[in-house]
């Protein structure tokens, strides 16, 4: 995966991003294997109020169906006070509040019930910006979704913002 860690803010005096944190850029998690079921697609379609029959019947997954599919599953007593889970792919960051930043997805073929998929997540960038309310840390993940035979299904780039 391409590295885009070229921001200079991380080297500025007073930077929140220590060399230890920046070392995590480029690391990948263990591949996650999952099987897509019609029922899971239908649940997603209902929750998001999809209109097309192919999604409502679960014949095909809506484009954002795999969002957060790689989420680490931990016991309730291990959730943080804000409800979130510490990301095993990230070092401890000096900012703790999390916001969604945005997504870019590229699709190579539809996802259907019965698909056995392999998701591999990589930290592609960690950079810092000054927001109107103070410093922000942006963490960028790439998620590569393949079949078990290694055929590319989709790629996701996701930004999370820590404030």
């Amino acid at each position: 995966m391409a590295e885009t860690a070229e921001t200079t803010a991380g080297d500025a005096p007073g930077s929140l991003l220590t060399p230890e944190i920046r070392q995590w850029i480029g690391r990948s998690g263990e591949p996650l294997r999952l099987e897509v079921t019609r029922r899971d697609i239908v649940k997603y379609a209902i929750a998001t109020q999809q209109r097309l029959d192919k999604y409502r019947r679960g014949d095909e997954a809506p484009p954002m169906f795999l969002f957060n599919a790689h989420q680490d599953l931990v016991d309730i007593e291990d959730l943080r006070p804000d409800g979130l889970t510490d990301d095993p792919l990230l070092p401890e960051l000096p900012l703790r509040r999390v916001m969604a930043g945005g997504i870019k997805n590229t699709y190579h073929r539809p996802i259907r019930p019965g698909d056995h998929l392999v998701l591999t997540r990589t930290i592609t960038d960690i950079y810092e910006k000054r927001g109107s309310t103070g410093p922000l840390i942006f963490v960028v993940y790439g998620v590569r979704v393949e079949t078990e035979d290694g055929d590319l299904v989709m790629e996701e780039t996701r930004r999370r913002i820590f404030r």
Partner: protein
């Protein structure tokens, strides 16, 4: 349904209004397995994270953008690429609109680029996006 011969630059996608409810947010966060309290715990959301109200998930707005595209395509086209940024938050009770328009047509590749938006009641774009689709001739 749109085809390469019928779309022009400026062709509008049908706008759809979305208003997340406590139930829709609950189901969405259950289905994506997201226990972040800002989506269901009012006291925590306003007292601790200092939001004015329960927060509508950024990726749910991303899904609404994708739906603006897939509803337009129907079963005839193919979504190749979509991206968006969450610029401003939306809160429980906000009515927002998802829509977009054709900004580029590549006849040779058979692809069309769309600019997308989620707008709030003040007509401010809170989540701009972009998609590339393949259409039939």
């Amino acid at each position: 349904m749109p085809s390469l011969s019928t779309v022009t630059v400026g062709t509008q996608l049908e706008e759809r209004t979305h208003e997340a409810s406590m139930v829709s947010l609950f189901l969405y966060n259950a289905v994506i397995w997201n226990p972040h309290r800002i989506h269901f715990d009012t006291e925590y959301t306003t007292q601790v994270e200092k939001h004015p109200a329960i927060v509508v998930d950024g990726p749910l707005q991303g899904d609404w953008l994708a739906q603006a595209v897939t509803a337009w395509l129907g079963d005839d086209g193919e979504l190749l690429e979509i991206e968006y940024s969450n610029r401003r938050a939306a809160y429980l009770g906000d009515r927002v609109r998802a829509g977009g328009e054709v900004v580029e047509i590549d006849q040779e590749a058979g692809t069309v680029t769309l600019e997308l938006y989620i707008k709030n009641a003040e007509d401010t774009v809170i989540a701009p996006g972009r998609a590339v689709v393949r259409l039939r001739h």
